[in-house]
Amino acid sequence: SSGVFSGLVLSYLWSRRFYIIYIYNKYWWSLHRTGFHLIPRLSSIVPESCLLITVGLLVGGLIKLAGEKVPPVLDSKLFFLCLLPPIILDAGYFLPIRPFMENLGTILMFAVVGTLWNAFFVGGLLYAVCQMQSAPSDLLNLELLPCLLFGSVVSAVDPVAVLAVFEEIHINELLHILVFGESLLNDAVTVVLYHLFDEYSSVGTVTVVDAVLGVLCFLVVAVGGVLVGAIYGILAAFTSRFTSHTRVIEPLFVFVYSYMAYLSAEMFHLSGIMALIACGAVMRPYVEANISHKSHTTIKYFLKMWSSVSETLIFIFLGVATVDGDHSWNWTFVTVTVILCLVARIIGVVGLTFIINKFRIVKLTTKDQFIIAYGGLRGAIAFSLGYLLDNDRYPMRRMFLTAIITVVFFTVFVQGMTIKPLVELLAVKKKQEAKRSINEEIHTQFLDHLLTGIEDICGHYGHHHWKDKLNRFNKKYIKKCLIAGERSREPQLIAFYHKMEMKQAIELVESGGGVKLPPSVPSTVSMQNIQPKKPPPVERALPQIPKGREDEIRKILRGNLQKTRQRLRSYNRHTLVADPFEDGWSDLLLKKSKMIELEKKITEMNNYLTVPAAPPDSPTITRARLSSGGRETDLKAAESPVLTPCPPPDPQTYQMKQMSDSVPTIQVDLASPQSPDSLSLLDELQRADQRRELRRRPPPDEEEGGLMMRPPQARGGDQGEEGGPSAKEQRLQRCLSDPGPSAEDDEDEPFLS
């Protein structure tokens, strides 16, 4: 029903396309949603693109049967201005930069040289074949330049089709990026060839000067497109630096700047696709560092939604245009085209790989070459370019269109359907689903620096040297301009670490309270297994702190705590927040800090008194220990004689502790340059406090809740005292199960202002 409703709405806006949009929606929703997914076998054999084209064919057929005139849906203007950009932006924004850059040489070779080879091979041989026809055929009238033009249109690998098919086969990253990158970058070549041949065929002859101009034109188009995109990308990044007060419109900037990049490039006849890719890829690292988590999610889902809708529409309209299209079937032309496309692709890939492998470290095997060749799918871009041809200048236009559609259908249906079983048959390496671990990240960075160092020692300005220089330049100048505030200085390793912790935290929150989340690697290994055992500390005298100094210390500590709270608040609103818990999050953060302090006190208390000291826990270690499972056993082990008789603590408490332990923000704050000092002071005071706490339970401090910062009593030599186990237990019980009513009061403070 919602599908029908949206269909009706759309149709009001597009009155001319009313009928088809309505029918499309109805059919798409019913077929696609129910049929496609109720028949899972179908979806595993037939790629979605094929099915969509079939739906389009059906719709077109229906309309024809109904006697209505099919509106020219695959209008080139509509296609290039509305349907194509979202897909390309989605691809560019989420382009995996590292493998793309590492294989850039290979990708460019395939995109530029490969497409040129294809165009000339297909066009030239077609012309030859046409010339060999016997007299009555119209093919004899076909000149060389229109053939070449046709060749250039039909030889471009299509990003939409590649995306649609490769998405489902999950091959390894290298092959995916090679084919996909090629399909993106060959747009520049296609644009130039198209315009060149279009103009030359009106002139009639081509000279050497024209050829040279053509090459220059290509450079201008490609580099110009990238520059335009990069400029808009930097503008978008710069704008995002200042959006901290207007979070709601952050996604808008991303979309608007990208679309403007595309339009500007197209306006100057530069490569719009390359502009869009450059814009998305350039702006992403900076924008993501600046925008809020919600904006990030919005951008991601909007891009996915728009690109998905566009893709669906494109395939359906392709089907409709096929049924409706003005066709002129010529057996020779069409079959020769199809065969030549295949042959050209295979020869091109094999030949280029031979050359490329001389320069690659990781060579491309025969299997790889086969997949690359087989993955060269044509799609709607070829059709739209053919559609754009002027009917007067090209009397064979209808024949061209028929041939293009045949090639598109062939590649999408035949190649698209068979590539999956072939991948299985050839046992091509699949995509690794392994999660990035912190160890891998450490070693990736280590290896980068190592290789750069070795290159420097060899005196060789290679790949790594320049990459390192670029990174340093980026860090020193660019990040400062484009990223707001503190995050511009955050090294990548730390950013990665925080991201992982955040993921863990969100997982814990989403798994619901109270349920222990099984760790990703089930094990009972915990932090204390890796901490080296320290010998029990020598009993030492607690230093006396004179009264005046003690006030000073209190002031410092209070100041730090407030700063912590302030920073907490700013992190809440601007950066990383788990969605449904946004308001509760800050509660959790504060509760967590209290719990950490409490935990520290408990440990210190034990250390101080009877049990040989466990090493002083940093919040990380506490968190890591508690999150690694075996939590109760750890606590028990650390404080065994004391905790065992303790009744099971309030699950609410443990839930908070569990969740809050994985929050990264506290960690960063406490690790700020000031904190090492304040922490040690805190330790001292806490130890002193705990001694006093044993004597009497102090009333909860209204201001500072669980953090009981009280001046130590002037009593020296009181170490080694053992309160009765029952007293200690009670203290612990109360500490554990009661976060303190004042803790709740505290939370109101930061949020009132």
Binding site: I442, L447, P491, P532
Partner: protein, 217 residues
């Protein structure tokens, strides 16, 4: 330089080529570089590496230089300890760890090369030669990586190293009693940890196109 003295020490090169797998051309170029660094001397010392300006910005500079003087990387079985100066042979041996594997290797040979490269990395981390990477050593590695971030780096480095160590222990040991102690990462654990890392294809330098005469030091 001229075509006449392009390969001055041919018989010596043959031996080196066999041991390290470099071609004569590559050995010649590296020899030139060696002479440049050692001021035409026969041996290289640690101080000579300080003349490379680009190396100074590298956060793991000291580890890289140490690796050149670490006997464990000289492909002699059971050699431990460090030396104060190295000759061209040792220089080349260390460099050979970064040679890309040729395409025609079968799986077994690939595995050998992979183990070799991982061993080199392991030796770089295991500075006290005891065969394991302890928590302290790992912390040191992470600290060096974050060394350009000031005080923030130090505290977070500890946290990151702890988390990483915990992950290694979880992967390698699986189950440990609360009072057991994980000594450190042994070479097998290291191997297991970086199984998916594809070190044999990533830890490579292109030695083909080097021409040191056109480059500054």
């Amino acid at each position: 330089m001229g075509a006449l003295n392009s390969l001055p020490d041919e018989p010596q090169y043959v031996g080196l080529a066999e041991k390290t797998g470099f071609s004569f051309e590559q050995i010649g170029i590296l020899h030139k570089r060696f002479k440049q660094l050692s001021n035409n001397g026969e041996t290289l010392r640690r101080e000579d590496f300080n003349t490379i300006p680009d190396l100074l910005c590298n956060p793991i500079r000291s580890e890289i230089i140490e690796a050149f003087f670490d006997r464990r990387n000289f492909r002699q079985t059971d050699a431990v300890g460090t030396v104060h100066e190295i000759g061209f042979g040792e220089f080349l041996l260390v460099m050979s760890h970064f040679r890309p594997p040729s395409i025609r290797l079968d799986d077994e040979q690939k595995e050998v090369i992979r183990t070799e490269k991982l061993r080199f990395l392991f030796n770089m981390h295991d500075t006290d030669n005891d065969g394991t990477i302890t928590l302290e050593e790992y912390r040191h590695v992470v600290e060096e990586l974050l060394s350009r971030s000031g005080a923030l780096g130090k505290e977070t480095a500890k946290g990151i190293a702890d988390a990483a160590m915990l992950e290694v222990a979880s992967i390698s040991m699986g189950h440990m009693e609360p009072d057991e102690f994980y000594e450190g990462i042994t070479f097998e654990h290291f191997n297991k940890l970086l199984k998916e890392f594809e070190v044999e294809s990533r830890m490579n330098i292109r030695f083909m196109n080097m021409d040191t005469t056109t480059l500054c030091k």
